[in-house]
Symmetry: C2
Amino acid sequence: MKQIIIVIVLFLLTLPSFSQNDSVFVRKIYDEALEKGQAHENLRYLCKNIGARITASAEAEMAVRWGFELLKSYAFDSVYLQETKVPHWERGTTEAAWISNSSNQYLKLNVLALGGSVATNGLIEAEVVVVQTIDELKTKSAKEIKDKIVFINQAFDQKFINTFSSYGHCYPIRANGASEASKLGAKAVIIRSLSTPTDHFAHTGVLNYDETIKKIPAAAISTKDADALINWYAKEKIKFSLEMDCKTYPEAISYNVIGEMKGTKDNKIITFGGHLDSWDVGEGAHDDGAGIVHSIEALRILKQLNYKPNHTLRCVLFMNEENGNFGGNTYAQLAKQKKEQHIAAIESDRGGFLPIGFDVRGTDEQLKLVQQYQKLLFDYDLLKFKKGYSGVDISPLMDEYPEMIQIGIAINSQQYFNYHHSHADVFETVNKRELELGTAAMATIVYLLDKTLE
Amino acid sequence: MKQIIIVIVLFLLTLPSFSQNDSVFVRKIYDEALEKGQAHENLRYLCKNIGARITASAEAEMAVRWGFELLKSYAFDSVYLQETKVPHWERGTTEAAWISNSSNQYLKLNVLALGGSVATNGLIEAEVVVVQTIDELKTKSAKEIKDKIVFINQAFDQKFINTFSSYGHCYPIRANGASEASKLGAKAVIIRSLSTPTDHFAHTGVLNYDETIKKIPAAAISTKDADALINWYAKEKIKFSLEMDCKTYPEAISYNVIGEMKGTKDNKIITFGGHLDSWDVGEGAHDDGAGIVHSIEALRILKQLNYKPNHTLRCVLFMNEENGNFGGNTYAQLAKQKKEQHIAAIESDRGGFLPIGFDVRGTDEQLKLVQQYQKLLFDYDLLKFKKGYSGVDISPLMDEYPEMIQIGIAINSQQYFNYHHSHADVFETVNKRELELGTAAMATIVYLLDKTLE
């Protein structure tokens, strides 16, 4: 008898926690995504018929209407807009930069104002001071920096396997470079683009002004131009010339776009989404058109397969991740106000590349809960289950619901920062099958969480 | 005492089988590959200064000399050529195909003769008969096929997660389509390209004539053209027109190119490599320039890190994988003749995309031996360890040494058949970091096997 019990216990210990039905259903999700997927055509529409869609632009408004009509066309249980205030910054029509030397040689640079930057108010020119990092900038005296244009040259550390780590290390030069340089009296700050390769694309992105310090113009130049500048600077003093007429306008009104399948068991909510806004260059294909079509397609596939969820499955196209996260904040505040019960949130905001697993933001137990799917998903190349960050849009929701589980779709990161926030982020760089595998990964994790979570 | 023993046994059972030193060394491999890697520049040279290099072409001869000089430049213990006979087939200068209908409308097609095809001897024209698969072709009568041109339209099954499975299922139409159609008296056979996307590229590749049956011309048209042909064919009878002057010449002499680091403990050999030849279109970037630079770079990195191998580490640039595997066969025969001791072989022939793990061709115990590295390699995104195929070049070696372990580097397969055997397989489609991660994966598995195997 004891032996039998031991055998039974061992058997139970080795039993996969998913059922044969789950395995069959996941296969159906992948078949639908790979054979009849609409993600690629939806992304083509968003990129080519709408394009770049910075918050408060006409294109962002078009994207809201497109998302709303597309969700309605799938006849989900409920499709609606959620109003949110949003910031309004525009690049303007003038943006130019060059360097020159004592021999009156000139080099025009590929430049993009950082998002939120103030204008130069005409052409400004000053001697360049180069620093490698924010920390080096902080060691400088006001005498060294005053009336100069500071160039911060910190490059991606190529040793990180995950390029988001390289990005994280460089992030402070974009976020804080302007205020740190301004403290020392600089005229403007220029940064090396936060980008993996050495090429001609400048990469924009939000900066955070310290409101107590004078705001100075800030821009990024391409990595190739950064190398050229460093070469010139090594030989002699150089002058930087910059003109930008970007401008911040009063806050505007925009919307999160939401589609739902109602829960059959309760009103608890599983949120999943990406962000509908993008920067104002390129087409926002990987950032985050991919996450948008991943999410819409996940809900479409589950409906198409006639799945009846236990909990409410809510697909959210968040507005304004890039420069303020107003949409994500509004979503969390309204959830709390309405006393909604949120049990899980999943975000896709790492591009349309090959999905490789799931990053779990939560407790050890929540990680283990997700790891039990690992064996089921091995054949789908979803292989990396670990603790990690979930996403900016759903982060405020976790502040309101600290008990919830949050998941970020983990995606091959190697090429993301080739395109991110630049003119290079266009539809053609997204592979159809990799995008479709992303939609299937999203649908699968939503399905498995709905089945698993109480 | 008993308790202590149990604790010790449990401790030993949970000990990772790799050491802290291994962990440090693997990190050094990745640092070298990602920060000071030469794979990308080597691939650029091979693709841009040499280009497509079909066996017995002037470019294949240049590639042999390039590989030999590059290996010598790294001052390995031994660098040498291994003579092998090779087949010699040339595409010629005329290659054209179109379809036409009763209204004298014409559609020119993107076409490539299959490797080894006979010529048409001038323009040939015939009515088209469409079949979907080889099996359907076999159900046809000679009356239906005689003097017709057969078009086999089998498309990739998009449901397979790994595209090599889709390729495997379609492979018979390319390999055997001509002989099966000839049995029934067809004038020629045309196939839908073995390719994942629907686009304008035709994809070539070897065919296998049944020597007992009359050889008829065989070619592939692009997937877009295949769809167009099917549309025309649905409406009325159509005529196919084809002219190709490809030709097979007498066998020639070429070389495998070999570089070695000698073992400090014994003369047992770990072989690793890819193939130096390519098809005669594109630049052979993913197939298999990537495997070539993965392998050369793996040996360079291990030498650069001053590693003293236990066994002999032998990097082999195989000649003629694409149409005959003469180089792989020669290598295995000479190994046996010389009574070499071969304990392991690793191949990279799945492109320069993101490596995701290792396919082990061997016993359960050999799979387990490799799986013990899994924890060590988790942070490097090498996640999928399973049984699978190793590679064509090293396959004859396994026939001679059935006890050996063979490994294929498993690589994200989603985009491989967008480029494979077509004009699209060019340097620009290879991402630098993904290529470098492939070199690190190769160096790492060679290192770990050298440390582990007796």
